[in-house]
Structures are given as structure tokens and as C-alpha cells.
Symmetry: C2
Subunit: 323 residues, 2 copies
């Protein structure tokens, strides 16, 4: 009973490319962790099996086992119903266009209770409670990665709207603008999402333009342009990478400033794969790109890089199990 009475909890960040699992103690210190690739084939059952293995590994490294945890939280993409633990339409996960009772399946296999939350929202809550958002009562989290996700804390509480709030990536920053991966036009994500930027780079290469991006990708044995590859290309002054990232920063500035004009929140926290990898200098550039669009430009919100880095998603998921 020792481990249980510790109040140790598990947290899993279920991403499109990797699964990050943690075990934390009652004050959210990390006791153990594990990481696995997200399956690229199969379906929800295969993803669930990987989640079980990841949290079991994290438990091993913490010297405990899943059934002894106070609970496990999962931050998931797609449409999450926190009451039922059912996850639907997780487009970035294999064969997950329908609905799957993820909480129930994991609870059966782990022998402890399982709580599911929206991946971006739990990462925002982690930053609010444990990271860069601690000094504030109202915070917008912007997760700049494959897509651009958003999470809101208003007066100290998560704002979910009718369960679908936070889609800052689909702010229209240019009417009749670029086609977004969501199918719509002119969304912030169409300019700033890593997925959309890669598509654009591929199209430009197909037209005969030059870039080192795909050479770097092959050298690293990757099939996609990761945040590390973008960072490397920028360091080497690749002109296409510079141009696409400049456009992304401009779009982020406009989209985030629009949200600030509407909500007048105290702080913006930039996380996600690109946000965390690029860090402080790019967060400063985003703040600068917001400035010309801010209505109350004499008192811009504070803009911070995510304090928990890559671990925010899993830490936020573990917070779900503290309730």
C-alpha cells in the first residue's frame, strides 16, 4: 500500500507522433517516465495497447505498478468526452475516425481509474498550475506544432465553451487566404502549422525551388519535417525555411493579437513542438508580431515560452487524476 498512499498518479500525453508517459508524486514531481512512438497503423485498440505499455514502463522506472496508482490521466487529441471517457474523430491517430471508449479500456487493463481530457486543454492547465502561467488568473495557451492548438484559463478556471473552445488555429487571419489542412481557407494553422508548412515546402520543391529541409530530413532518417529539422534549417540560413517561418510568425502575431483584443487576457504562453524547440527568441518575435495589431497596445499581455517544455501535456494529464 505504500505507493498508493503516496498519491502517485500517472499522466499520458497521446500525441500524433509520440506517447509520453509520466508517474508523479502528490506534489507533481516526476518519479518516472517513458516514451513510445504512436502507432501509425491499426486502430484505437493498438493505440490503447501502446498507452498501457508506456505507462507500465513509466511505473517500472518509478518503482511501482499501474494498479497502485491513484489514477491515470490521458491528454488526447480528437473530440473528448471527459464524462464518458470516449474519444471520437482523432484524425491524427490511425483508424480513429469513429468513437472509442478509451478510459474504460485503459481502466480495465491498468486496474486503476482513468480520466481523459483534451490534450491542448490539459497542457494549458499544466502551464497554469505548474508552469509559466502560475502568476496569472487568465491565460491563453498556444501550442505551435503540427497544428496550432489553443487552451483558455479565464478567472482561474478552464474555459471549454460547449466543449469545443480553444480552436485558435482556425482563426481566419486572411479571408480567401491559403488552404488549411482542415479544408477551410485562411486559417492561422494554414500559415503556421508544421503540417501546412511542410506541404507548402513540398509544393515549392516540386516547382523546382531549392531548400535543405528535405535533405536534412533524409540525413536524420525521418519521413516528416520535425521541429528539430526546421530549427536546423533556420540555423543554416535556408531561405525557404526562413521565409515560411517568417510567415508563420506573422500569422501567429495576427491571430493571437485578435484573441487578446477579444478577451484582454493577462498572459499568452507559447508551447508545442515548434514553440518549445524555438524557445525564447521566437516567442519574443511572436510578441513583436502581435504588437501592431493590439488595440490596447500600451499594455500588451505578457508572452512566455511554456515553462514545462515537452512535458506539459503529460503533467497536465496527471493533474486530471488528482481530482
Amino acid at each position: 500500500m505504500a505507493a498508493t498512499s503516496d498519491g502517485a498518479r500517472g499522466g499520458i500525453d497521446l500525441g500524433g507522433t509520440k506517447i509520453e508517459a509520466l508517474v508523479v508524486d502528490a506534489v507533481n514531481q516526476v518519479l518516472g517516465s517513458a516514451r513510445r512512438p504512436t502507432p501509425v497503423e491499426g486502430g484505437p485498440e493498438d493505440v490503447a495497447a501502446q498507452l498501457v505499455e508506456a505507462i507500465t514502463d513509466a511505473c517500472s522506472s518509478a518503482g511501482t505498478e499501474p494498479a497502485k496508482l491513484r489514477g491515470v490521466g490521458v491528454g488526447s487529441p480528437g473530440a473528448v468526452n471527459p464524462e464518458t471517457g470516449i474519444v471520437s474523430r482523432a484524425g491524427n491517430l490511425p483508424g480513429w475516425s469513429g468513437s472509442f471508449p478509451l478510459a474504460e479500456r485503459l481502466a480495465d487493463q491498468l486496474g486503476t481509474r482513468v480520466l481523459i481530457g483534451n490534450d491542448v486543454q490539459v497542457a494549458t492547465e499544466a502551464e497554469f498550475h505548474l508552469g509559466a502561467g502560475r502568476p496569472y488568473q487568465s491565460v491563453l495557451g498556444v501550442f505551435w506544432g503540427t497544428g496550432v492548438g489553443g487552451g483558455l484559463i479565464l478567472e482561474g478556471r478552464p474555459w471549454l465553451g460547449r466543449a469545443g473552445a480553444g480552436e485558435i488555429g482556425h482563426t481566419v487571419v486572411k479571408i480567401n487566404g491559403a488552404r488549411c489542412t482542415c479544408g477551410r481557407r485562411g486559417c492561422l494553422e494554414a500559415y503556421a502549422g508544421r503540417g501546412a508548412m511542410e506541404l507548402r515546402a513540398r509544393r515549392r520543391v516540386a516547382k523546382g525551388e531549392h531548400t535543405s529541409l528535405f535533405k536534412l530530413m533524409e540525413e536524420r532518417g525521418r519521413s516528416r519535417l520535425t521541429s528539430a529539422i526546421w530549427a536546423h534549417a533556420l540555423e543554416h540560413r535556408d531561405s525557404m525555411a526562413i521565409e515560411l517561418i517568417d510567415r508563420a510568425v506573422e500569422a501567429l502575431g495576427a491571430g493571437i493579437a485578435s484573441a487578446v483584443n477579444l478577451l484582454d487576457i493577462e498572459a499568452v504562453i507559447i508551447g508545442g513542438g515548434l514553440g518549445v524547440r524555438f524557445g525564447e527568441p521566437y516567442v519574443a518575435r511572436i510578441a513583436e508580431a502581435m504588437q501592431p495589431h493590439l488595440f490596447h497596445d500600451e499594455r500588451p499581455p505578457n508572452v512566455h515560452v511554456a515553462g514545462l517544455g515537452d512535458l506539459g501535456g503529460a503533467l497536465g494529464a496527471a493533474l486530471l487524476a488528482s481530482r
Copy 2:
């Protein structure tokens, strides 16, 4: 003491072109009203004098006098401090670039307490408590007139942020787009504000294009393109008016959809001079223009025309005095 014990209150909507004053009873039924033009010259003292006359007239028509009112609320443009009753930087009012203790000055002259709120926010609260927003707990009010203002009710309470929330008119709908009257580029208001549309129409006429807008203005003895003039020009199929209003509807659709994607609110209420004048058919067109940009397009928010019409601002101001 009879009128006082009734709980009668006054409400004044201080607009850029007109001052609307009301006296209401304890259940917000209108007992009397008066309307005056907003001074176009002078300064805050002159505006305050007109406010005193307007509410005194409204009292006369209600068979009472200002000193017998439970209180008077004022919905004001500019930066409003509700605690001190000081109004600053009201750009649409004459000589009001600095600060003026409006509540104090009015209270001295009226002999009753005076409360000041932001004009757009009090109109949103009026719609929430008494108008089209009654069925909902989270509402975005969009006031489409000379500018485009916004007000938010979240979980039944006004959301003010750091006192400056609701600037949906300065959502960036087109990066590097049209110049806004605020000096920035690509704001929703640069496409949809009556002020910006008039400027654009004047520029196009100066270049030799044709429109009946300014002929209608002269016939009616006006110096600005009022909502009635725009409505008349549309009825007569004036091609420049149709084109500019189409552009405004498109921009409103994009900007409001972006707010809905971020907040996932239950309902949007369209008010303001143009919103009320154009009414249901145009509100339906705005809802249609939002649809392609909505992330959760299977369940759009309800979109309504303001239920209180032109009186929302003054009724909302009167609500301030019920506290």
C-alpha cells in the same frame, strides 16, 4: 416619495451621433424617454450638459424628476473606469481626448447617484438580461454601426478581461489588409464599420465611380451616410452599396466565426445601427458567412438580431443603476 419608492431608474446611451435617455420602472418597463443630438463641438462639459437635459426630459415624460430616481446609468464610449466614473479618450466625442469625471459631474447636477459603464458592454448585458440573449449563459454581442464593437457574457457573467475586452472590431481578418480607422491594418472594422465604408465610398467617388449614396445623403439633409441611407441604397440596388455591404458581411462572418472557434459560445447577438436597421435578413447572411469558417460546423451557435433594437444601450445603462 412615491416615484422614488417605485424604484424608477434612468439610463442614458451616449452615442457618437445621438444621446438616448430612458426612465424605467423596477421591472425595466419604459416610463419615459427623450433623444438629443450629441454635441459636435465643445468638450466634455457640453456633452455632460446635454446628458442632463436628455435625462431631465425623459423624467418629465415619465412624470418624475432626476433627483427622485434611484440612480442613473450611462453607457459611454471611450475608456471607462466604473469605480471612479471617469471617462477617458472618447475619440468620437468632441474635445474628449483626455479624462473627465463624468459620473461626479452628472451626480452633482442630477441629485442622484450615477454609474458609468462601457456602452457596448451595457448593451450586451441588456440583451442578455432582457433581450435576445435571455435563453443563454454565454453570449457574444456584436454591435455593427459606425464601428464594430463587441461584448461578452461568459457563464452568465460579463467578461471584461483587464477592463478592455470585447474589441472584436479589431480582429485581424486580413493580414496586410485595408487600413482601419484605428490606424491598423486588416481589422474587421476596416471592412464592416460604417465609418470605414463611408470613407471607402468617398474615395471611390473621387476616382469617378458612381453611387446614389451621397445623393441620398444630401436629399435627407445629412452630413454622414446613416444606416437608413445605406438601407435605402441597398433597396434601390446601388451597386457600390451592395458591393461594400457584401464585403462587410464577409468580414463579419470571418471575424465572428474566429471568436466562436476560440470561445465556443452558445449565441451571437447582432445589434448596432446597421445590425438593427438591416435586421433578420442580414443577420441570416452573417450566419451564412460564418459557416465556412466554423471549426465545429455541425453545431453553429445561434445568431440573433438584437431583441431590444435601438434601446438596448439605454436599457443596459439603466440596469447599471439597479445594483
